[in-house]
C-alpha cells in the first residue's frame, strides 16, 4: 500500500481495542483525523455499490457532533429514532444535541407526510413533493442556510457548520433531476463550505449495472467536486459472513489541477454491533 506508514499497518493488524463510546476509531485512524482537528471547507462524498454504506453516515454524524460542530442533518431515508438509537451506541445522543441547538434534524419521512397531505402556508423544504412538474430544491437550500448560518445574538459558538445528507439518490427517486440536485449541492457548498467555512458530507448510491443515468450523472458530478471520497463496495465474489465489504478511500484536490495522482487506500471491513473493524485486504481475522 503506497504511501502508508508502517506503524499504521501494525496498529491495524494488532486490532486496537476500540472504546465503545467512540465512533469508529479505526476509521478515524484511516482518515487520519480526530474530532479535535477536523478539517474545514471540505466536501466528502460517501458512495455505496452493491452494499449498504449507511454506517459511514452514522460515523460522520457522531464524529461531527463530538467535534462540537453545528450539524444540519437532512435525513431522508430513515426516521429520527433510528439514527438516535444507533448514535447512542456510538456515544452521542441526538435528542440531547437537538435540544441544545447543536443539531438541526430534517426528518424526511415524517415531513413528507405533513407536506403531502396538508397544504402548508410557508414554503416547506420538501415542497417539491406537491409539485406536478420537476421543480427545484431551493426551499431545501433555504432551510439548510437558515439552519447553519450563525445567529447574531451571540449564542454558544459552535466550531464550524456541517451539512450531512442521507441520501441524495432519494431526491432523484422523488422526481428531481440530476441537474437540480447538483445545483442544490453547488449552492450548499458555496454557502456551507466557502462562506461559512464548514463541511459537507453526502451519500449517493451507485446503482452499478442498473443503468440509472441520472444517478450516474450525479455521482460523476459530485466525484469531481469532492475532497474525500469513501466508496464501499460489496465483495466481488459475493456474500461473506466475516468480510462485509471493501472500503476505498480517495483523497482529492479538486481545485488544483496537478498531474500528481491522488492518494487512495483500500481496506476491507466487518460491521459489528457498535463498531466497524477495518483490515487490509485478505487479512480478515477470520482467515488469519
Amino acid at each position: 500500500m503506497k504511501g502508508m506508514h508502517l506503524p499504521d499497518i501494525r496498529m491495524l493488524l494488532q486490532g486496537a481495542s476500540p472504546r465503545s463510546s467512540e465512533m469508529f476509531p479505526e476509521l478515524n485512524n484511516l482518515l487520519n483525523t480526530t474530532p479535535d482537528k477536523a478539517e474545514q471547507g471540505k466536501l466528502t462524498l460517501l458512495c455505496d455499490a452493491r452494499t449498504d454504506g449507511s454506517f459511514l453516515v452514522h460515523h460522520f454524524l457522531s464524529f461531527y457532533l463530538k467535534a462540537n460542530c453545528k450539524v444540519c442533518f437532512v435525513a431522508l431515508l430513515q426516521s429520527f429514532s433510528h439514527y438516535n438509537i444507533v448514535a447512542q451506541k456510538l456515544g452521542v445522543s441526538l435528542a440531547a444535541a437537538r435540544e441544545r441547538g447543536q443539531l438541526v434534524f430534517l426528518e424526511g419521512l415524517k415531513s413528507s407526510v405533513d407536506v403531502f397531505f396538508q397544504a402548508q402556508e410557508d414554503p416547506h423544504p420538501l415542497q417539491f413533493l406537491r409539485e406536478a412538474s420537476a421543480g427545484n430544491l431551493q426551499p431545501l437550500y433555504e432551510f439548510v442556510r437558515e439552519a447553519l448560518t450563525p445567529a447574531d445574538n451571540g449564542e454558544a459558538a459552535w466550531r464550524c457548520p456541517v451539512l450531512l445528507v442521507d441520501d441524495l439518490s432519494v431526491l432523484l427517486s422523488l422526481g428531481m433531476g440530476a441537474v437540480a440536485v447538483l445545483d442544490f449541492v453547488h449552492y450548499c457548498r458555496a454557502t456551507v463550505c466557502c462562506e461559512l467555512k464548514g463541511n459537507m458530507v453526502a451519500l449517493v448510491h451507485d446503482s452499478g449495472d442498473a443503468e440509472d443515468e441520472e444517478n450516474n450523472t450525479l455521482l460523476i458530478g459530485l466525484s469531481h467536486q469532492s475532497h474525500l471520497i469513501l466508496r464501499t463496495e460489496g465483495l466481488a465474489t459475493g456474500f461473506c459472513k466475516d468480510v462485509h465489504g471493501q472500503l476505498r478511500i480517495l483523497w482529492r484536490r479538486p481545485s488544483q489541477s496537478t498531474a500528481r495522482r491522488d492518494r487512495s487506500l483500500t481496506f476491507q471491513y466487518k460491521i459489528q454491533d457498535k463498531n466497524v473493524s477495518f483490515f487490509a485486504r485478505g487479512m480478515s481475522p477470520a482467515i488469519l
Partner: protein, 413 residues
C-alpha cells in the same frame, strides 16, 4: 436466529408480559429513553398487542408474515412500520399466496386489514384466504410428513459432511404459538372469521369512478387516491395516535396487490422511458412515511419482471425495507431438471433492513428454494438439494449464478 424451541418460549414470554402489562402499568421491560418505533402515544410498552413480539436483536416490534419459514429468514418477522416488497414470479402463481398468508395471519390475530387491488375485488380476495391449521389436526399431518421424509434425512452425507451440521430452514407446527400460523391452501377460511374481522377494501375501478377532483401532482391518480385512503384510515382509526378520540392498540395490515400494473394508470411496466417514472417511487416514499408514524405493516407485490427500466427497480428496492423475490420454475428449463423436481421455485431475500442498528439479521444462506405443499410452505437451502442428490448419484448440473446482490458464499475451510 432463534430456534424452534426458543420460538415457543418467546411466545410464552410475550403472553406473560401481556398479562403483566394488563394488570399494572409498569413492566420491567419498559425501555428507558427514546421509544424504539411506533406512535408517540403515552402508556406502557407496546408488547400487549396480539400477534406481535419484540425482536431479539433490537427490541423492534415484529409481526408475522404468515409464513413461519419466511419469518425466520427475516430475523424473526416483519417489523411494524416497514414495507415488505415481494417481487412477483413470472406467472403470478406463488406471490398471491404470500399475499394471502399475510392477510390471513392478520385475521387470525385480530388485526385490522386494508386490502388494495386494481384487478380483484378485495372482498373476493378475502373469501379465498387459506384456512388456518388448528393444532391437533396439523400435528398429526406433520408427523406423517416427517415419517415419509425420515429415510432421506437420515442418509449421512459422506462428502459434504459439513452441510449435515447446518440447521434446516423449515419449522414444523409443533406447538401452538401465538406468533406465526400455518395454513391449508386447499381449504377456504371460515366465513365467520372474515365476518368478525375488521377490514377495509380499496378496489381501484370503484374509487376512480367517483369524480373527485384530485389535486394535480406528479403522482398517478390511482396512487393518489390510495394514499389518501390509507392516510384516512390511519387517522380515523387512530393507528398513528394523533386522533384524541381513538386509542388504538391494534396493528393495521396493509396489502397492496400488483402495484405498478397498467391497471393503476402507471406506465412503468409498459415502456422503458415512461412519463410517470417517478410516480411509483414517490408513492413508496410517502407510504413509508405513513407507515413509520403508525402501527402498521405493509406487504406490496409488484410484477418487477414487467418493468423494463432497471433503474426503477433499483430505486424501488432502495425505497423499500424488506425485499423478497420469488422465481418459480414453471415454464423454465428448471421445471424438468431432476435436481429441482421436489421444489417449485427459488426465493431470493434481496434486502433486509437495518433498523435501529448497524447490522441486520442476514441469513448465511443465500440460495433458497421453496416448495408448496398443501399445509406447508417450506423454504430450504438450495445446496442441500444438490448435495443430497449428488450422494444418490444423480447428474450434477450447475445452475446459473444467482443474480441477486450476494453471490455464492466462499467458505474457507
Amino acid at each position: 436466529m432463534a430456534a424452534v424451541a426458543t420460538c415457543g418460549a418467546g411466545a410464552g414470554g410475550t403472553e406473560s408480559m401481556a398479562a403483566a402489562t394488563s394488570k399494572s402499568n409498569v413492566t420491567s421491560f419498559q425501555r428507558r429513553g427514546p421509544r424504539a418505533r411506533g406512535t408517540d402515544s403515552g402508556g406502557p410498552r407496546l408488547v400487549s398487542i396480539a400477534g406481535t413480539r419484540p425482536s431479539v436483536r433490537n427490541g423492534q416490534l415484529l409481526v408475522s408474515t404468515g409464513l413461519p419459514a419466511l419469518d425466520q429468514l427475516l430475523g424473526g418477522g416483519l417489523a411494524v412500520g416497514t414495507v415488505l416488497l415481494v417481487e412477483e414470479d413470472k406467472y403470478s402463481i406463488y406471490s398471491p399466496l404470500l399475499f394471502k398468508y399475510f392477510l390471513a395471519e392478520g385475521i387470525i390475530n385480530g388485526h385490522t386489514l386494508l386490502v388494495a387491488s386494481a384487478k380483484e375485488d378485495p372482498a373476493d380476495i378475502l373469501q379465498e384466504l387459506p384456512a388456518p391449521l388448528l393444532d391437533d389436526s396439523c400435528k398429526k399431518e406433520f408427523d406423517e410428513d416427517v415419517c415419509n421424509k425420515k429415510p432421506e434425512s437420515d442418509i449421512k452425507m459422506k462428502i459434504a459432511w459439513r452441510y449435515q451440521l447446518s440447521p434446516k430452514m423449515e419449522v414444523g407446527p409443533v406447538t401452538s404459538s401465538r406468533f406465526g400460523h400455518y395454513y391449508d391452501v386447499s381449504k377456504r377460511i371460515p366465513r365467520e372469521l372474515i365476518e368478525t374481522s375488521k377490514w377495509h377494501g380499496f378496489f381501484l375501478p370503484e374509487k376512480m369512478s367517483s369524480a373527485d377532483k384530485v389535486e394535480c401532482c406528479s403522482l398517478t391518480p390511482g396512487y393518489m387516491k390510495l394514499l389518501h385512503f390509507i392516510q384516512n384510515i390511519i387517522y380515523e382509526e387512530g393507528f398513528d395516535g394523533s386522533n384524541p378520540q381513538k386509542k388504538q392498540r391494534n396493528i393495521l395490515r396493509i396489502g397492496i396487490q400488483s402495484l405498478g400494473l397498467p391497471l393503476w394508470g402507471d406506465d412503468v411496466c409498459c415502456s422503458e422511458n415512461c412519463d410517470s417514472s417517478h410516480s411509483l417511487s414517490k408513492f413508496l416514499y410517502i407510504l413509508r412515511g405513513l407507515l413509520r408514524t403508525s402501527l402498521s405493516a405493509c406487504i406490496i407485490t409488484m410484477p418487477t419482471h414487467l418493468i423494463q427500466n432497471k433503474a426503477i427497480i433499483a430505486r424501488v428496492t432502495n425505497l423499500s425495507d424488506t425485499v423478497v423475490a420469488l422465481e418459480s420454475f414453471v415454464g423454465s428449463e428448471r421445471e424438468t431438471n431432476p435436481l429441482y423436481k421436489d421444489y417449485h421455485g427459488l426465493i431470493h431475500i434481496r434486502q433486509i433492513p437495518r433498523l435501529n442498528n448497524l447490522i441486520c439479521d442476514e441469513s448465511d444462506v443465500k440460495d433458497l428454494a421453496f416448495k408448496l405443499k398443501r399445509k406447508l410452505f417450506t423454504i430450504e437451502a438450495e445446496w442441500t438439494v444438490r448435495e443430497r442428490d449428488r450422494e444418490k448419484g444423480l447428474s450434477f448440473v450447475v445452475g446459473s449464478p444467482s443474480n441477486d446482490r450476494h453471490g455464492r458464499c466462499t467458505t474457507l475451510i
